[in-house]
Symmetry: C2
Subunit: 490 residues, 2 copies
Amino acid sequence: MYKQYLEHNQKVKDVESAIALMHWDMETYMPEGGANVKSRQIGTLSSMHHEMATSSEYANLLQKLQDDNSLNPNQKKNVELSLNDFNRKNKLPAKFVAEMTKASSEGFMLWQKANKENNFSIFSDQLEKIVNLCKQAADYYGYEGHIYNGLLEEYEPGTTKEEVDVIFKDVKSELLPLLKDIQAKGEIDNSFLKGKFDCDKQWDFGIDLLKQMGYDFKHGRQDKAHHPFSISFGSEDVRVTTRVVEDDIMNMVGSCIHEGGHGLYEQGFSADAYGLPESQAISYGLHESMSRFWENNIGLSKEYWEHNFPKMQKYFPTQLGNIEFSNFYKAINKVSPSLVRTVSDEITYHFHIMVRYEIEKGLLEGSLKVKDLPEFWNAHYKDYLGVDVPSDQQGVLQDVHWSHGSIGYFPTYSLGSFYAAQWHHSIKKAFPDFDGKVKKGELGFIKNWLQENIYQYGRLKSAKELCTDITGEPLNFKYFLDYAKNKYLG
Amino acid sequence: MYKQYLEHNQKVKDVESAIALMHWDMETYMPEGGANVKSRQIGTLSSMHHEMATSSEYANLLQKLQDDNSLNPNQKKNVELSLNDFNRKNKLPAKFVAEMTKASSEGFMLWQKANKENNFSIFSDQLEKIVNLCKQAADYYGYEGHIYNGLLEEYEPGTTKEEVDVIFKDVKSELLPLLKDIQAKGEIDNSFLKGKFDCDKQWDFGIDLLKQMGYDFKHGRQDKAHHPFSISFGSEDVRVTTRVVEDDIMNMVGSCIHEGGHGLYEQGFSADAYGLPESQAISYGLHESMSRFWENNIGLSKEYWEHNFPKMQKYFPTQLGNIEFSNFYKAINKVSPSLVRTVSDEITYHFHIMVRYEIEKGLLEGSLKVKDLPEFWNAHYKDYLGVDVPSDQQGVLQDVHWSHGSIGYFPTYSLGSFYAAQWHHSIKKAFPDFDGKVKKGELGFIKNWLQENIYQYGRLKSAKELCTDITGEPLNFKYFLDYAKNKYLG
């Protein structure tokens, strides 16, 4: 019977992977005129996927397997997670799902238009509709405590709004003063990072960085995409994409290492557990911790660049040959409040998230109205980041997420950074010569540690279990704070 | 009810396109280690595709539609063709299909090994098994006259072995003497085509040639592949691939134009008829006629190169700057009997096919035994082409087709060339200034003519109907013979 369960899930994953390949193709190589036909193909396969994953035969199988005493603990856990997924998925009536899908796709188009024309009112009615649907979804799912929990569970299973509040309270009380202290240290010149950097050379340098991390090119590849992403067709074929911009080399570096981190996680899942929860990511926050750990904790560290800056200078002698290492290191770590989340530094980033998180809670509770969003947004950007928002385009309209119906997603970005700091602390404790190895460009031990402690489990451990097993306690913001203080004021 | 039929076929095509994309990916960008997981994904989707295409609900729908008098002639024709396809597909029992699939996949592996080790005996037992299965398939399908017809129908519907025999009788009696006459004209030096040609420049030149043909890059793209092919995900996204070899520029040129010809055909199908016979190719031979017409009749013509040779010289001034046009033209049209089909010229090519066709007939009739194949092969290569076959690797083991269970496929390659000559004759008659336009690089009118006369119909006309409508008669070898005589002896 378990075999039947396994085969069913493998087939579902096969269809999922075909859909994933079509998405990959859309973002990388598809000719412009292929978009319509590709969309309908994705639609058809998505329906088939949904039917397979929610069939009553599968439900019966899962029910029976629950009482199967011949399963080993690992198998039991897989079945338990599949059953949870199944039940959650089936809480939404088909009619509601169709409504949500329609609202999101209309929402996306209206958001694009609103963004382009810098006019929030084009999007606001639809956003109101989406917020109401999200509230309904939370009700269908059911939740304890705050309504936010009904949605957060989708992105960060096992973590509650009440726990996230505790963390953001610290962000507010601890990180805001730290930001002031960092700013008090004076301006940093990073203009030399905005020169002209040949795109082909950037590409080669990026591949070099991916190889150093241990990203496996036998089971993956890198391509260019406008919005970088990583995608898996099973752990034996996990691809990453990056963006190469001539006058912004750190954009490429950051996206290579970030997506490489996501990719390593997916490559690290057991190929034998293809299709099972055991070869899936725990949560959005955990996935993000895998990318941010590499991108920030490793990829913005002094030790990392002690090895890589001389390399980078060889790639770009005219642009960087005369730059001193200490200035380079300061420049790539310049902390500077700004308007746009996606290009913000590792400290101010969390204020961007905090504003969004507060808005989401307010919208769901009803304490904040959609029409008041721009005002709320601008006031809080002034308050937390000290910046004046010149337009909704660069303000409340900058992110796509809400238009897709993704409410409850944003905090996982910050959780990712905070988990990453906690892993960082643990691995440094496990390897007293951590800095020495990184300085020499020896990063293999990091991938091995992640494989052993995180990748191999897939979803067999929850985020909380995993975090406690590795670090001795659940997620704790103090690790990030210590990391930041030590790095920026130490 | 027709709407239901349409939607069913669109969905089947959606799945087919997802499978096609996975194949494209395998041949272009897939990392080496992704092959196993991709194969299983293709397997799962292929089963789903088969189930959809052969479901009893669909059968009932087709039956009912047959008697639906509200259909217009175009709709009636689509339904009729779908019903034929359905009935033919359902003639093979599922168990037999599974057996055939297994035998082919084992056959492919054994053929690879036999080819690599130059040892026919590794492959011969499996080939015998495959031949027997093909005989069974012919019996399941049913046929009139020769058993070969049971299989040929799969590749060249509506054309019989008896008709193909008539053509190859002419090949033997007319083309063999012509070959002798051509050879009597003396040796041609084509060594300058084997110099070093920068691969990036070759690529650019190839793209240029595709654009000239009217290949639509908004609805297509070219990539590199070891074995060039074209593939469609619906007429709005049709891709081609080419091979670039530094010391063999005409290899790239030939494969670009050849695959471009296939691609134009698929791009020319009605997007509204997505999923219907109306947007499918008539037969393998017709598809091949679309590629060979461009590759040989246009792409090896004097007029074509009067426009393109000066361009090519600009791309490669060191290699070709001092070559006289007349020598270039002779070199690219060098006729020279050789061992390997895929690199042979447009005249001797058909002797390669004739040997294979005779072998296939013999095997199916039982007049030829698998164990006697090498001897038969070598004797006939000596007889028709005057060459001594030094090894089975360069002889009977050179093609993959039989290992896949494709018996009855080879003659369609020759039919393609012969149809192409017949189209060529008609279009030249329709455009008295044909040569003048081609000389100026104005090829748009050719694509338009093909669109109007061939592409737009998809399968609505059979090969015979199409050929008669355009040229006034069914396929006739004399057009190819005239073309060849005129070109090589004229």
